[in-house]
Point group: C2
Chain length 162, copies 2
Amino acid sequence: MKTKSFSDMQCSIARTLDLVGSWWSLLIIRDAMLGATRFKHFQKSLGIAKNTLTVRLNQLVDGGILTKVAASDGSAYDEYQLTEQGRELAPIILSLAQWGDKWAAHPNGPTFEYFDRQTGDDLTAIWPRRAGGEAMALADVGVKAAGTPTPPPNFLEGKPNS
Amino acid sequence: MKTKSFSDMQCSIARTLDLVGSWWSLLIIRDAMLGATRFKHFQKSLGIAKNTLTVRLNQLVDGGILTKVAASDGSAYDEYQLTEQGRELAPIILSLAQWGDKWAAHPNGPTFEYFDRQTGDDLTAIWPRRAGGEAMALADVGVKAAGTPTPPPNFLEGKPNS
DNA sequence: TCAATCTGGTTGCATAATAAGACTAGTTTT
DNA sequence: AAAACTAGTCTTATTATGCAACCAGATTGA
């Protein structure tokens, strides 16, 4: 069959998913954000098959999300570390967590809570906002083809032709 | 092999990915947000195999992201519409787009731009923010086990044991 | 009107991705 | 020095995806 790649699509969403959208990838990134650095961390935390984990880690390294560096603690085994590019996936991870907390919560409640280390407050919702900072209604989010000046259909509302 | 499901994990991120994390799912949701409602829209836009599309659409309906409703224009063919639950995936979609624009842009540039329909301004970045609305450094985002009072390791910094 | 086309699938077959477990060379612990 | 651990690899089995053919009902065009 040869699973189709999204890498030749022009859409940024597709291009992102091509790098981090395969099964397990985003959970590996989650664990990396929570401090996992070694093969065994990911393997134990996720229960993923080792061969699959090998492939996924290599893909993330190739995609520039992770780097493999010499261990900081003198061990002979390398560490996988998030790159800047990888760290900036945090909004995606946080919005996934936020949605799951609201719409797909586990009977026992969520495992993690996110807060502002400066103040201790809970994080403000990850949500589209206007310049001032207020969250906006989804219906106010407009989408347009790049370069187009006029505001065509609404995000979440426009109809495709035919 | 039997692909492992994430649905019994407690983590909200995993639970969300279980519903929308399979190959094609988020692109289908993207298209739904851009106005696609019918089988042919998704099929034409994505170039996905028809049997796979059938499975994906049914999964999204089962997961409460889409509903199948009678066509609004009198056609005999049903429409797939986003539910409220589905519409609230917008922050995930927008953060994927934002990351891709920055880190995985197509040579020809992005296809879409997002703006505030009220003002015409570009959207403010989807990013973790403090109560006041200012974007915060990722290093200031803390994560803790649910219920725990003390702030343990940083998000993006904490080390797992062993 | 009525043949041609479109729509939303289903079915069968080929291949790729994932899972599970055995195995291994090198590392670390006891 | 033996035992256990680490980060894989290899083999085998099953599922997921892709592709093409097919089909019944709806819609369109001449």
